[in-house]
């Protein structure tokens, strides 16, 4: 079983739709849960992070973590064409005594005007 699984999509939605992006993970020792956004021809940039179960909101974005199910989600409300990008979940944990950030494969999102 892979450490982090993410549906690679792609996903295409109309402007204004609610978008749900999801990842599952296998190692219960993982501690920090992040979402990175990567625009075309750019490096990823951190969008949100959380370290506990529950929801965290930042404007139109909500990150949700369910540690009991090892499931993380990113919701985008009122999606905009500018949200078109690849979204990568990333989970930080310990491996071999050192910290390691494990990325999902990324979901390409297109928001159509």
């Amino acid at each position: 079983q892979k450490e982090v699984e993410q549906d690679p999509g792609p996903l295409s939605v109309p402007e204004g739709a609610i978008v749900s992006l999801n990842c599952t993970y296998s190692n219960s020792a993982f501690q920090y849960f992040m979402w990175y956004r990567q625009y075309s021809r750019k490096g990823p940039e951190l969008l949100m992070y959380t370290y506990s179960s529950g929801n965290k909101e930042d404007g139109r974005f909500t990150a949700q973590v369910d540690k009991s199910s090892k499931y993380i989600s990113l919701f985008i409300r009122d999606s905009q064409p500018s949200d078109s990008a690849t979204y990568l979940c990333a989970i930080l944990g310990l491996r071999g005594g050192s910290e390691k950030l494990v990325f999902g494969k990324g979901m390409k999102l297109t928001v159509n005007p």
Binding site: Q6, P8, Y32, M34, R41, K42, G43, P44, E45, L46, Y49, L88, L92, S98, K100, L101, F103, G104, K105, G106
Partner: protein, 111 residues
């Protein structure tokens, strides 16, 4: 703002050439990372460094080496480039927090 720069955006090299990819960060970060990103495979860690002259292997170090002689600079070296090393290479740095800051990437083509 943290800035991570990479020496080239696009690079074309021939099989067997020695290739150097340079990365510089301006935030005095201790940790630096090299990833490659491929369709369907996502981001995979090649090497990382947590201090000057220190390096650790990531998940796919074969065919690569690294050098960190100065804190702000982390170099990735392809000793003898092969076509299966055609990829997007991303450098990142991290300070005391958990966020990794990425450069814009170098798209390397080996022919």
């Amino acid at each position: 703002d943290v800035k991570v720069t990479q020496s080239s955006r696009y690079l074309v090299k021939r099989t067997g050439e020695k290739v150097f990819l340079e990365c510089v960060q301006d935030m005095d970060h201790e940790n630096m990372f090299w990833y490659r990103q491929d369709p369907g495979l996502g981001l995979r860690l090649i090497y990382f460094s947590y201090d000057v002259k220190m390096k650790e292997k990531g998940d796919i170090p074969e065919g690569y080496s690294v050098s960190r002689e100065k804190k702000e600079r982390f170099s990735l070296i392809l000793e003898s480039a092969s076509t299966n090393q055609t990829s997007m290479y991303l450098c990142a740095s991290r300070g005391r927090g958990y966020e990794q800051y990425f450069g814009p990437g170098t798209r390397l083509t080996v022919t």
